[in-house]
């Protein structure tokens, strides 16, 4: 249990309204299918300042990651070159609060796929 822990919102978060704008910018307004992209993120962040995530989508040329509950949602866009061994990448990201992390992949055929994963950011403390 954190004394004087930075006040963070643990109430149900409201996704940043700009999220869909960033999605549209990436897709050019094209339709986005649910699924077809893998996103691995922890259920609970050990530390909201460094949350490990991994994205993968077979044959994708690019994958964009958004943090829907951050003040500014963009996180990173991975562009896979001709020598990419797989369209897969892992990194560590900052999450300001409990929220959905979103991954959108541009697939080999030019279509788009999207998935999301809820990551809980908690004050912590206490245990068995």
């Amino acid at each position: 249990l954190g004394a004087g822990a930075a006040l963070m919102t643990v109430l149900p978060y409201r996704a940043n309204a700009a999220v869909e704008d960033f999605v549209n910018e990436f897709t050019g307004g094209a339709e986005v299918a649910e699924g077809g992209v893998d996103l691995i993120a922890p259920e609970i962040a050990e530390n909201g300042n460094t949350v490990p995530i991994e994205v993968a989508a077979e044959g994708a040329s690019a994958i964009m990651v958004l943090a829907a509950g951050n003040p500014t949602p963009p996180v990173a866009t991975f562009n896979f070159g001709p020598l990419a061994g797989a369209s897969r990448a892992a990194t560590r990201i900052r999450l300001a609060q409990t929220q959905d992390v979103i991954a959108i992949a541009k697939l080999a055929d030019g279509s788009f796929a999207r998935t999301s994963s809820l990551v809980k950011v908690t004050i912590g403390g206490c245990g068995g």
Binding site: G2, A3, V10, E46, K120, T122, G124, G127
Partner: protein, 542 residues
């Protein structure tokens, strides 16, 4: 009660407790969450343990008379006393203390007499929880456990000794330190000092034991004490490990886990190919295994109160059957192993005067376990408010800490048994009403999130000077309502500021006197501790 307690106790013998029809070709012995309790203690099981989501009404979320009915346990019987909370003080008088590592040694030796190559596995939370453990930085427990000769262990509170000390102790262990989910934080690779699994050839069977450390260590405990490590459930990696050991010929796959029961239950459904999960962390004691698909889950209690024996018949690379017994360690019934008694007393000798000093006396039962409050934490909260001059007190919902029964003297050792830790500073802060609500909501979701993977396995933070209502089945953010400052009876104002004292902050640099000193001073002033029924928390949706 109208049962004959004395007759019941007299009927209890060591042979009866150890009686077991040896079965199959493999024996597993499981101990977990000992929390450095070397000596016999009292331990009251929870009367409130609420399950949510898929685990609503499922074990281990069944308590008291419901638990006894579920397992066909007679009122007033030894099992009633060992496994449930009702009529605790009276039954404790009749049946006496439980645990003691010298009694555990007797039981382990007896099983080994039946099955010399039985595997002894320790689920962790071993090097934490007492005065001597704190002052020796875990060495007393390492010495005692080494004498018990386990084959492997996994980890949780051990890491709160700090990563340097953990490395030092692990280096010297004459058995395996396992954790498939203990990773190096910098490169996100399996940590070198902790093997994910180990093979053991027993009874002609190739057994793989995969370790699973507590997944949420840096959240539930101060991550700054072990910055080189990262954990997590990592069930995909667990599946890889299971597949790997199977490919290498494992005929029996055992997971030595510190996930907590509900997390293990979910993991058993996500990961295929585990035969036995020896669960830990949530301190549940279940007299029968729980089956999830082909996986059996064993829950062996805490504080040295139980030893589980699981006999397995493994043939042609398959688990064909099992026989199980949760052996309660009745301290007055099981003869202590004299060598172990000597070793334990040796660990305690340098501190014996400090340990045995009487600080006060209790009129009622002092206990901790339960989702919302225990009389020990009520006492700790009172101590925080009076000694630190605060309006509100917060005490962490940890699940360790033995009980005392009415009329018991309270010694310094007793106080340390419920407060000992490497970050015991009792802080005094100002918090807004809004922040207090955020804290309660946050902790509540760590217990009552319907998805076990979002649970951390503690109980609710204990509050002093603050009453509230909780709807355990509500969404996060709307479980807590009607927060009241008890000293005035006024509702908590989100914008107002309150003086709050607490302890066990996970933040680096927390300042304040140590909680055991705060509690000791308070008890000295009170002399005799009276325990009242706590009605400050109103629970809905259970």
């Amino acid at each position: 009660g109208n049962w004959s307690r004395l007759a019941a106790q007299q009927a209890l013998t060591q042979d009866q407790l150890l009686e077991f029809d040896t079965f199959g070709n493999v024996s597993l012995i499981h101990v977990t969450d000992i929390h450095a309790q070397l000596k016999p203690i009292y331990f009251r099981e929870p009367s409130v343990n609420i399950g949510v989501g898929p685990n609503r009404g499922e074990v281990p979320h069944v308590t008291g008379a419901d638990f006894r009915r579920l397992y066909g346990i007679d009122d007033g019987s030894p099992s009633h006393y060992a496994l449930t909370s009702g009529d605790f003080a009276a039954l404790a008088q009749a049946y006496g203390r439980v645990g003691g590592m010298d009694r555990v040694a007797t039981v382990v030796n007896a099983i080994r007499a039946d099955r010399p190559d039985a595997l002894l596995l320790d689920g962790g939370d071993t090097w934490h929880g007492s005065y001597t453990c704190h002052h020796t930085q875990g060495q007393d427990m390492v010495n005692v456990m080494n004498a018990l000769k386990p084959d492997a262990m996994t980890f949780h509170w051990e890491f709160t000794l700090g990563q340097d000390r953990v490395r030092e102790l692990v280096e010297g262990l004459p058995f395996d330190a396992l954790g498939q989910n203990i990773f190096d934080a910098m490169w996100d690779e399996p940590a070198e000092r902790f093997k994910p699994y180990e093979f053991y050839e027993r009874g002609g069977v190739k057994i793989a034991v995969i370790g699973q450390a507590f997944p949420y260590l840096p959240i539930a405990n101060p991550g700054w004490m072990f910055p080189d490590y990262t954990f997590g459930i990592r069930d995909r990696h667990m599946q890889e490990m299971v597949d790997e050991v199977r490919a290498q010929g494992a005929e029996l796959v055992v997971c030595l886990s510190h996930n907590g029961f509900d997390v293990d239950k979910k993991m058993a459904g996500q990961v295929s190919g585990i035969d036995v999960i020896l669960t830990g962390h949530t301190h549940d004691a279940l007299p029968e295994p729980v089956l999830v698909g082909d996986t059996i889950l064993i829950a062996s209690g805490s504080n040295g109160k139980f030893v589980s024996r699981v006999d397995l018949d493994v043939r042609d690379g398959q688990m064909m059957g099992f026989r199980h017994k949760l052996i309660p360690i009745f301290s007055d019934v099981i003869a202590p192993d004299p060598e172990m008694t000597r070793l334990i007393d040796e660990q305690r000798a340098p501190y014996i005067d400090q340990l045995t000093e009487v600080i006060g006396e209790t009129e009622g039962t002092l206990y901790r376990r339960g989702n919302f409050n225990g009389t020990w934490d009520d006492l700790i909260c009172d101590a925080l408010m009076s000694e630190r001059d605060a309006q509100i007190a917060l005490s962490p919902g940890v699940r360790w800490g033995p009980s005392l029964i009415p009329g018991d003297k309270i010694t310094r050792e007793d106080i340390w048994n419920v407060t000992s830790m490497s970050y015991g500073e009792a802080y005094r802060n100002e918090m807004t009403g809004e922040f207090l609500k955020v804290v309660l909501e946050d902790v509540a979701d760590n217990i009552f999130n319907p998805d076990p993977y979002y649970q951390q396995g503690g109980d609710m933070v204990r509050t002093g000077g603050l009453g509230y209502r909780i709807d355990v089945r509500a969404e996060q953010g709307s479980r807590i309502s009607d927060m009241v400052l008890l000293e005035t009876g006024e509702p908590i104002d989100p914008a107002a500021t309150y003086v709050v004292a607490g302890w066990a902050s996970v933040n680096e640099g927390t300042e304040g006197p140590m909680i055991w000193d705060v509690v000791e001073n308070h008890i000295r002033q009170q002399g005799t501790i009276r325990t009242d029924v706590n009605t400050d928390v109103e629970v809905e949706g259970a």
